[in-house]
Symmetry: C2
Subunit: 318 residues, 2 copies
């Protein structure tokens, strides 16, 4: 079982009605619902210390959870951060720099740190980032509500974070004087930006039927929407907003693979009825395909041919 | 710097008004405040796999956070759990057994699991347990509100969890047919019970001025109350409710050390005006001393002599 199958199993076994979206939605008052989300970042799984800039890691730890709030169409309000840290990093003052980046992002979104935990870890840095937010009652945008015939959109370019990861694996480092296109790709990986403003605009338009953020990879995250909505999808390779900086460094096929399966771009992936296409593309959203009624099937149209693709984004266990 | 000093530093630097108690208290509605808390449990720091029973570890992960809600005089409502787990434990089905214990405790307190995260860890199991609860608006019981002259109470015996830990270190195991007193001590360490009922009674009485749970150790946790309240304390060795099972296994001095510095008993440690002594002891609370105006000083009275003691409970960093 991979972790998604295990979560399905646990959700079923214990009748967990609120598990399975980017955030849990809890009634909070007559006018608002509470949104909460938790995300772990683990050394040598999500990042390597040899390329981690502590401030950027602090930024990213918060950004990935803010992105989950965005993916529900909500606004973040408070946060907690739990950190397991080995002795030698503690002694080097890693945490103080980590918090610098964390608080820079928190304050720019008006998010207040209200708690968390600090523990020694024997080895490997591990961080659990928790964010709470709110949304007008009943207005959280779920994964499970896409309809057949809906158009599928991305809020911006994808693949850049995966390209940045490849550059890091190839030995490039952000702190050095790399070229501008390289630095842009490295920052896509190291300092993703949660799309809270876009989410807010989409929420106010009221046209979006389902939404998720691209954390695992387009093929997987679109798979999550299809799985939860009991639908399928067709996407067109020519429509994918592949990060333009990728083409200078990678083959066309690598670029497409990064865009389909790379993950960590934290763009919003969402669906809306076809009558909303003009409005949404006018706002800068990119239409990439359409929701179908063929449950669980995702087809990629490329060069006039159509072929089914499997969710091939990141998973921890197989 | 140890982690408590570091948290003081970060709290000051970033003006974090809601950090520093067992839970953060957030306004939720006209009648209730939201309580939230996060606790990490890390392999080889908080437990060892060689003695961990997965179901009991799942229980404990939730129990320590429920205890934080109890320590504020609140009631838990929802929970999230983030788990970083190595491949070999994942493959062995460790998590399914972990969840068994987790959900047994959750359902007995009406707590709903609403989210979390699962990540691979290269090595070492790490768990971050988050619980949300509520309390009548303005009624959360803080650490920072003890007054000079208040009596100090414990909700039950202490030292047992530390005694159980020593037995585990000495090679005893819960799964074997150990003697009843040994099993009771082992369970104090492996399956602590959050004192939510007692907390609820104390909340309704309205007599308690400050409260914390004994997680780090009596000397440290009383130190936290004194530090936050800018007070001191005197406690009497003869009044300490040392776990009776300890005496069969350990010397009188070891028993006292376990009670003072052992931690993990998850009893409630609280203060109330002296006029409340009869009522509270009538409920089963044990009076152990008195709050003084000597900021930061804790004296232990033993055999007619008084000596200052340092917080010597658990800390991760020195």
């Amino acid at each position: 079982m991979n972790e998604f199958q295990f979560l399905d199993y646990i959700r079923e076994k214990y009748a967990l009605g609120k598990v399975g979206d980017d955030c849990a939605v809890l009634p909070q008052g007559p006018e608002t619902d509470l949104l909460i989300t938790a995300d772990m970042l683990v050394e040598d799984v999500d990042f390597r210390l040899e390329w981690a800039v502590p401030e950027l890691l602090g930024h990213k730890a918060l950004a990935v959870s803010l992105s989950d709030i965005a993916a529900m169409g909500g606004s973040p309000t408070w946060a907690m951060i739990s950190i397991g840290i080995p002795d030698e990093l503690w002694a080097k003052g890693f945490l103080e720099r980590f918090y610098e980046g964390y608080f820079d992002l928190a304050s720019s979104h008006g998010v207040e740190l209200v708690g968390g935990d600090i523990s020694r870890m024997p080895k490997y840095l591990a961080v659990d980032s928790v964010v709470g937010g709110q949304v007008t009652r009943g207005n959280a945008i779920l994964r499970s509500t896409a309809a057949s015939g809906d158009a599928i959109f991305l809020s911006g370019s994808i693949g850049g974070a995966a390209g940045g990861l490849r550059l890091l694996e190839n030995g490039l480092r952000y702190e050095r004087n790399e070229s501008e296109p390289h630095r842009r790709l490295l920052l896509k990986q190291l300092r993703p930006q949660p799309e809270l403003l876009t989410a807010n605009s989409l929420q106010q338009l009221g046209l979006v039927t389902a939404m998720i953020d691209v954390s695992d990879g387009l093929s997987s995250d679109l798979g999550h929407i299809c799985h939860s909505s009991r639908k399928g999808a067709v996407i067109e390779a020519d429509l994918l907003p592949i990060d333009p900086d990728l083409y200078e460094n990678f083959s066309p096929n690598e670029c497409l693979q990064f865009a389909l399966n790379g993950g960590e771009d934290y763009r919003l992936l969402f669906t809306a009825p076809s009558k909303a296409i003009a409005t949404l593309t006018g706002m800068g959203a990119v239409r990439i395909g359409e929701i179908t009624s063929e449950i669980g099937r995702i087809d990629l149209v490329e060069g006039g041919n159509s072929r089914p693709i499997d969710p091939a984004g990141y998973q921890h266990f197989s």
